[in-house]
């Protein structure tokens, strides 16, 4: 039956690769697909907002007759219970996983799969986790406790699921790519010994770049949350969190209020991330001198894209900054009769020497008030495929030109512009006006 297990698993994993999922991602070693690392991005609008929650998933040999086993790895090394069903030990209490008694309709069946498991876990990261505790589901009038619980989760979400993983990813940057560049061509090994290794090392190997990229996307939202926290904690600064009735000393969420410290750490992470990106061009130039494969490939891709652009009517220019294939400059002129008409948008694309393991970072350098561009100019876009730069360029242009994108909180990088763009008629007009004003400035 091992055969049945792996065939079904291969289908599911292939499906993951095809789907454009912003809410979760998986990583695994091709040689051992039964050990899967998964990361769920905390749903916006919940206390877990945009945190990086990592899980180790093990697939039993008789899958899909039996459910996978799932452990939460984002636990502050076994010290923090992130929710009533997310124990400090890493246990995930969920009827679909058989770790919690459930109604007949909620139990595991072979019609369930990785995606439904991840969606179920995602639903545990809810806007009101307090009522997920058994026996507390009808306590929605416990407003004081509910607010106390949500506010300490918000603090720990930023501390343990955003800043901590980023600091670790910056501390050991090599872990994100070194295994792939080994001469013997072996793919990176993910998670095989997950229980024996330090949990954070696994985190880095699989999702370091994923988290870095998203951190830059969502930075304004993290900053807003911290500013709000600082205002709220004036009276309770450095005092301990309140304990919840269902928490115990070994399985709870203990800590102290200190948003001021989180602010300093967040700023330092931002600084280091930018430093890292600004090292790529120098590292890249060294690779150009060596005639390294990646440098040659990028040069070739640039030449090809420029040739193709000539046949388009669009006014666009794509050049390499100082001839360096690791820094591209895209100059885009808005089409006539489009919202971007008359604007000249200057975009700088940094490409990592470890591309595509580390994804490009895209910054808009000219002023642009846009729902997909953050205050510091970071642009969020989705390339059809991550490996070729042409797909990145297409993704950038499509994002700029898409006047009516559907609302997606996970693509919100400029909270103020998004509120206007999807607001009342008056607000929508204000958004268009601000966009126009920024284009005129450019």
């Amino acid at each position: 039956m091992a055969d049945q297990c792996s065939l079904r698993l291969v289908r599911e994993l292939a499906q993951f690769e095809r789907s454009e999922q912003l809410a979760f991602t998986v990583a695994y070693d091709e040689k051992n697909t039964r050990d899967i690392q998964a990361l769920i991005v905390g749903p916006p609008g919940t206390p877990y907002e945009l945190g990086f929650y990592e899980f180790a998933i093990k697939i039993p040999p008789d899958y899909p007759a039996s459910p996978p086993t799932v452990r939460l790895k984002t636990t502050n090394q076994g010290r923090t219970r992130f929710g009533p069903n997310l124990y400090a030990s890493g246990k995930v209490c969920l009827s679909i996983l058989g770790t919690w008694p459930g109604e007949r309709g909620e139990e595991w069946s072979p019609a369930q799969g990785l995606e439904s498991v991840l969606l179920s876990i995602q639903s545990l990261l809810s806007s009101n986790p307090y009522t997920l505790e058994p026996g507390f589901d009808d306590r929605s009038d416990d407003t004081e406790n509910i607010e106390a619980y949500n506010s300490k989760i918000r603090h720990e979400n930023l501390r343990l699921a955003v800043i901590d993983p980023l600091e670790k990813a910056l501390q050991f940057p090599s872990l994100t790519w070194q295994p792939r560049t080994q001469r013997n061509g072996q793919p990176p090994v993910y998670g095989a010994d997950s229980d024996r290794q330090a949990p954070n090392q696994n985190f880095l190997s699989a999702f370091g770049d994923f988290s870095k990229q998203r951190f830059l996307w969502y930075l304004d939202i993290y900053k807003n949350a911290i500013e709000k926290g600082i205002v709220e904690e004036t009276r309770r600064h450095t005092t301990p969190f309140l304990s919840m009735p269902f928490e115990s000393s070994g399985n709870g969420m203990q800590g102290t209020w200190d948003y001021t410290k989180l602010k300093t750490r967040l700023e330092s992470v931002q600084e280091q991330l930018m430093e890292e990106i600004h090292k790529w061009p120098t590292e890249g130039l060294a690779l150009v001198k060596e005639d390294a494969g990646i440098a040659v490939k990028l040069m070739g891709q640039h030449e090809q894209i420029v040739t193709e652009m000539k046949s388009r009517t669009q006014v666009m220019d794509l050049s390499l900054a100082d001839g360096n294939p690791f820094v591209w400059r895209l100059t885009y002129a808005g089409r006539t009769e489009s919202r971007l008409e008359g604007g000249i948008i200057k975009i700088k694309i940094f490409i990592s020497p470890r591309h595509p393991v580390e994804q490009p970072r895209v910054f808009v350098e000219s002023p642009l008030y846009h729902i997909r561009v953050s205050k510091m100019g970071v642009m969020i876009y989705l390339p059809a495929r991550a490996d070729e730069i042409r797909h990145h360029i297409d993704g950038i242009i499509n994002t700029l030109e898409n006047d009516n994108p559907p609302y997606n909180p996970l693509m919100t990088v400029n909270p103020e512009a998004s509120a206007l763009c999807w607001g009342t008629e008056v607000e929508r007009r204000l958004y268009r006006r601000k966009l126009r004003a920024s284009l005129e400035e450019s």
Partner: protein, 88 residues
């Protein structure tokens, strides 16, 4: 002009009487393909059509139904799984 047929070869295709793009809810392979344990599609790797309206490869379903935790329920809708007999 008269044509004389010397020889002819008949070729036929078949598929299960089920929409072509439907997949087995357990192995997620199309019904016209086989379950993961078989090599050739056809009578050897039959389908079971449940009275609840859900179909599966017979081998896939039996692996599940023979397991105690299944409680004899359909994996999709969790009603008691009973299959239609014969050529209904």
């Amino acid at each position: 002009m008269k044509v004389t047929l010397k020889e002819w070869n008949a070729i036929a295709t078949w598929h299960w009487d089920i929409p072509e793009d439907e997949v087995c809810g357990i192995c997620r392979v199309q019904f016209d393909g086989t379950c993961p344990t078989c090599k050739f599609p056809g009578d050897e790797c039959a389908l079971l059509v449940g009275t609840c309206g859900h179909s599966f490869h017979m081998h896939c379903l039996l692996t599940w139904i023979n397991q105690e935790s299944s409680k004899g329920l359909c994996p999709m809708c969790r009603q008691k799984f009973e299959w239609k007999q014969g050529n209904e």
